[in-house]
């Protein structure tokens, strides 16, 4: 089963665990309904669409309200550290969260005591904190965009905000940054780098690239990186090998974007609706 950890941008949203469902443009967990705009709700919605297509059950999610103060994230770090060891999840996707190196390391230690080691996927705040603490290699898959890859490649930077200019510069080629991230042990077993061209790589180099269909405006639309992480997490949880799941997710996300005929003002919910059609085209 897939489990997802993330935050909801509403301070009143309580620390909640449960199976999440999707209806229209809202996800539901227990008595709470949340709009699917971007961030973890968009990632969950994309995962649900993919799991439904694959005939799998909906994900179990650990969610907490946090608008950036870190208060909710800290509560959920502690809850997970206490509870996760007994859980049977086979795939664990960690998403928007307040980076806190000390609390994350405790959580990671607890994950290592789970009965079956889950395939560990990281994006957003959890990817940041993994790199900050030197824990990126503990992940099976990280899903940075090109800017975040530069952060992973910069061994001195504790957050994308401090990535040094000579590494961040646009002319730096993604393959070189991937090599640099692996050289400094700031990469996961596999990497899915999201961008104008999507790259799938491991420590030996580039495994595959996906560059069509080209939908340039996706870069401007909040949540399109979250949807690809949701799709790949669901495909891995459905039994696909990580490399196959990553390549499939990259194609599906592009196609779903293309089907939505987006402008820079399009909201990600419109793209999520197109995921089943895109999955059918790639896997059907």
């Amino acid at each position: 089963m897939l489990a997802i950890v993330g935050t909801i941008p509403d301070e009143k949203f309580p620390l909640t665990g449960g199976i999440v469902s999707l209806k229209g443009k809202k996800i539901t967990i227990r008595d709470w309904k949340v709009d699917v705009n971007r961030g973890t709700p968009a990632m969950i919605a994309a995962a649900i669409k993919t799991l439904e297509y694959m005939g799998e059950s909906n994900p179990y999610c650990y969610l907490v309200g946090d608008i950036g103060s870190g208060v909710g994230s800290k509560r959920l770090y502690r809850h997970l550290t206490d509870q996760i060891a007994a859980e049977p999840f086979q795939t664990l996707a960690l998403h928007y969260f307040q980076p806190d190196v000390r609390l994350f390391k405790k959580f990671l230690t607890a994950i290592k005591t789970m009965p079956t080691q889950p395939r560990l996927i990281g994006d957003a705040g959890f990817m940041y904190v993994a790199k900050m603490g030197g824990d990126a290699p503990a992940f099976d898959l990280l899903t940075p965009d090109a800017g975040e890859l530069a952060y992973l490649a910069d061994e001195k930077s504790p957050h994308p905000f401090y990535t040094r200019g000579f590494i961040l510069h646009e002319e730096n080629l993604v393959p070189d940054l991937i090599k640099r991230a692996y050289r400094h042990h700031n990469a996961s077993t596999y990497m899915l780098v999201k961008g104008a061209t999507d790259f799938i790589a491991d420590k030996n180099g580039i495994i595959s690239t996906i560059d069509s269909p080209k939908v340039e405006v996706l870069e401007a639309i909040g949540g399109t990186g979250d949807t690809i992480t949701g799709i790949v997490s669901a495909l891995i949880a459905s039994g696909l090998e990580i490399v196959t799941a990553a390549a499939t997710a990259a194609k599906v996300n592009r196609l779903a974007g293309s089907f939505a005929a987006p402008t820079p003002a399009t909201q990600v919910a419109a793209i999520i609706q197109e995921i089943p059609r895109a999955l059918e085209q790639v896997l059907g």
Binding site: G68, Y128, V129
Partner: protein, 180 residues
């Protein structure tokens, strides 16, 4: 009298062990303190904290140690209290200073570090906010999207993290370009 103090404040931040850093509870407090101190002429700089006090998503303010008392007093007047004041001997991390612009027809996207903001150039409406990984990013997007660039809340006023600070840099550039 005032001129004497002003001259003193206008000195560049000295290099070496005569610098200190102000550590705050969150990035919002850093941004507020930066605004207050810069508006009054102190040559302070926002930097990345040294590894020994780094917890995650944080910023610090570097300042001339000799001015510690007056800076702390001024911040107290506006109810901002640093958690720590620490002398610095090592080089601190510089925030990213690359800002990229990209045009999609009638839309302009600006990226600073890992954050992007996109505006309809005709209506000045913020149509999307993307990037980032800290929990205030979806919240900031919720607060800013579908509002005019001159009416939306600024990231510095409602955000907390480095992602919010990066978005503020992109927002400031957008405001400047939209006013040309």
């Amino acid at each position: 009298m005032l001129d004497i103090f002003r001259r003193k404040k206008d000195k560049a931040a000295p290099a070496g062990s005569d610098r200190g850093i102000l550590v705050f509870e969150n990035t919002t407090a850093v941004i507020r303190a930066e605004s207050v101190l810069k508006a009054e002429g102190w040559k302070i700089q926002v930097k990345g904290p040294p590894p020994e006090i780094r917890t995650g998503c944080d910023l610090v303010i570097e300042f001339p140690l000799i001015e510690e008392l007056s800076i702390i007093r001024r911040l107290a007047e506006v109810k901002i209290k640093p958690e720590q004041v620490v002398p610095v001997n090592n080089t601190l991390l510089e925030p990213v200073d690359l800002v990229h612009e990209k045009t999609y027809g009638n839309y302009l996207m600006i990226r600073a570090a890992n954050m992007k903001i996109t505006v309809d150039k005709k209506s000045k409406l913020i149509v999307n906010v993307s990037g980032g990984g800290c929990p205030d990013v979806p919240y900031l997007a919720d607060q800013m999207v579908n509002k005019s660039i001159d009416q939306a809340p600024q990231p510095r006023d409602v955000g907390y993290t480095l992602c919010a600070y990066a978005l503020q840099i992109a927002y400031d550039r957008m405001v400047k370009l939209c006013s040309l």
